[in-house]
Amino acid sequence: MSTLAITPDLIAQHQLTEPEYQKIVAILGREPNYTELGIFSVMWSEHCSYKSSRLHLKKLPTRGKLVVQGPGENAGIIDAGGGYVIAFKIESHNHPSFIEPFQGAATGVGGILRDIFTMGARPIAVLDSLRFGPLDDPRAGARNRRILEGVVAGIAHYGNCFGVPTVGGECIFERGYNGNPLVNVFALGVAKKEDICYARAAGVGNPVIYVGAKTGRDGIHGASMASAEFTEESKQKRPNVQVGDPFLEKLLLEACLEAMQTGAIVGIQDMGAAGLTCSTCEMGSRGGTGIEIELDLVPQRETGMTPYEIMLSESQERMLLVAEHGREDEVFRVFRKWGLDAVAIGRVTDDGLLRVRHHGRIVAEIPNRELADEAPLYDRPHIPSPARPFAPSPAQHEIEPTAALHALLSSADICSKRYIWEQYDYQVRTNTIAGPGADAAIVRIKEIGVSVAMSLDGNGRYCYLSPHEGAMLAVAECCRNLATVGAHPVAATNCLNFGNPERPEIMGQIVEAIEGMAEACRFFETPITGGNVSLYNETLGEGIYPTPVLGIVGLLGTAAPLTKDFKASGRAVMLLGGMGDCDETRFGGTEYAKVIMRELWGLPPALDMDYEKLVHGAMREIIAAGLAESAHDLSDGGLAVAAAECCFGPAGIGAALALESDLRPEWLLFHEGPSRILLSTAQPEAVAQIAARHGVEAPRVGVTMEARLEIRNRNAVLVSAEVEKLRATYEGALEAQLRA
């Protein structure tokens, strides 16, 4: 196969352009052979090289006083104090999850977990950000339901068996995701600071060791598949999706962490996208060294595999490590204990080349640095995102508010996701302080009395209206979620999901979203320590909403969590941040506009970052003073939905809210203006004092009571409902839609 002639057709099949091919020829000083062409094509795919986004990703802030490791490694690392660090990252597995939902999602979890324990950290939390097409879509509903069931079962299968709790996430439905579901998985692990491992090949003569599953023909060109649009033929790519084995991954985790303790490991990297190719050349590139391997030594589960296939296979649950020469046996002993293959397949050299032999013959010889780091870089043309003006007729607003509240609570975006998260083991390792359904998930680090709060957020509708403001709102919402549970945000990871970057309007979305994110992350002091870009999320020319997803982590002392539900009747209800403001333009991106009016227009809610930050500071101080009995941030569905959600605790405590506002009723109840947190307290004066000191409004909007939710404005009753009726709507909606 290595002698296969390199024709323009073959180059095009590898999704390489003519100039890219010429660059390969220039680097090698000769024509590549077939194996080398395959190696370049995966390393220079959009998925591995970020060739369309790299230029703009540089705008993101990456430094902070707690950042131990920023972008460029398998995961970012933050100092958690007490000699411990946390490693975390988010990654997408969108394309495979559309083609084969169960395995696509399962291997997405597997991939990000390996990224974490590769750094020497034990995974202690997973969160998922999911996007699907509408479950009741007239054309694609049945398929969307099947994809959701498959994705959720896949995540559960992998995470539950591996033994990491899935503690939170989000799940949103839009037509644009009909042919392009998004599966973004965030994982976080914990390690002692001195145990951090890096993915660098150092020490000439050191052995390169392959561990874990045998290599098969699965997943060949997965990275390239994830770098193209879907067409009618995409189903034929099913063999490109890998199959996951969470038990094997669990063995790999334990064996790797134990092997690292021997001190004999110099560098380690998982084999994810682009498999053996990526792990060898990236470790060599980072270490400034060469790597030479003999493919005959690679454990294989199929016979007759070609060098091309072995190098490009994306078989799961494999790691590559460099050990100290002479101490190989210490490493092998650990892997034998766990019943895993561990084989020296090569060594570190000083010539900077990735040299691949097969039956002793050289089948590829490529400079590591050029292959890994000198991928083409494109400044793709981009145009500003257009305004989306629209003036709905006032008649469209005319729906009785209590009915509107029921409609929103039963909408797929807002309703309880219990059906999903009860399939996840969200408690294993007994660190979960706040699990699914909380504003932010919290897991404790038992050793140091510190907990980590985590929130994922992204709003495709907001970003469609304004990529810049939408991205900023996602950062603000994550930080608000963390503040609502009392945590200080410290760092972020991002997953940038967009359509085809070769279209200038899509490239415009990417640039604007990154710039908005950069501005907000700088402002909230949450540097981006790593992440993932997923482009070409298009099927038959229909793209997704621009969907940048933020994952932000914060730290707080380990203690009983502040939860969102009202605890007792007779308590004051306060709206920290105030009533917010809204107008026709800013109402067009709300869930009300989507669910009730079936429209999308204007701009997302207006964000004042200075004020937002003041609200967070006030909230943390209120919590620290022990004044709040409950707190819940306002987001999708605005004040009315947030108030209802606060009623759904074990006791079913409701509230009577009496508002004084000139806003139109549906704006007052359902606008999604940020910087607002609904809390209940037995000491409203003390809360008001703290809020005033921070320059934050905190009107008393009502009082908690038994069993009913009532919202009045001046003397008009807007909402009046039994809590248990609202709860039934909220809890039953998702399963009802899946059974349709």
């Binding site: 068996c161 408690q427 009983a560």
Partner: protein, 226 residues
Amino acid sequence: MKFGVIVFPGSNCDHDAWYAVNRNLGQPAEFIWHDADTLGDIDAVILPGGFAHGDYLRCGAIAKFSPVMRAVRQFAEDGGPVLGICNGFQVLVEAGLLPGALVRNRNLKFICREVRLRTETTHSAFTAAAEVGQVLRMPIAHGEGCYYSDERTLDELEAEDRVAFRYVENPNGSLRDIAGILNARRNVMGLMPHPERATEPLMGSSDGLVIFRSMVMAAQPVALAQ
């Protein structure tokens, strides 16, 4: 009282059991690797939750062949207390130390949820510190937790007072709401819910401690008397 926590390669609640016993109960605990031939100087065995050998076959079907299970069987025959939690319960059933089988949940899905258990007997090393009828809150987290056996065995379990716990609201279709059972000698118990996940307020419940306290009491009759 020294607890031994058996570690199969795919055990993933082994640390949790250790933490519950050692930190929240204040008793010594150690891990025992699955290919050990002997248990050492321990006073009680815990078979923890997880996926012992991946459980791609029936849960626990391979674990029963692990060398350590011979030692566990001997330990039980000698009267030592053996507690199987979740996957540990599945292993005990596969190994024949407890009757019946655990099959897929009625809804065919993994369920993680807090449940309420009713204590059915205090006549055992695992429930002596509880009261009959006492309701305990603790989570379940399993895909195959539906307890199943033939009618005769179920009748026998009930007649011999060997149903230790029943679900107040049956989450998984278990016959006769059974959540945990005892062997005839009452020194081996398997239960699907996770008492180790309910051993301190931060976990949401401390009700699981009563099971571990019972084990300590049973081993130290003097302490019981005091």
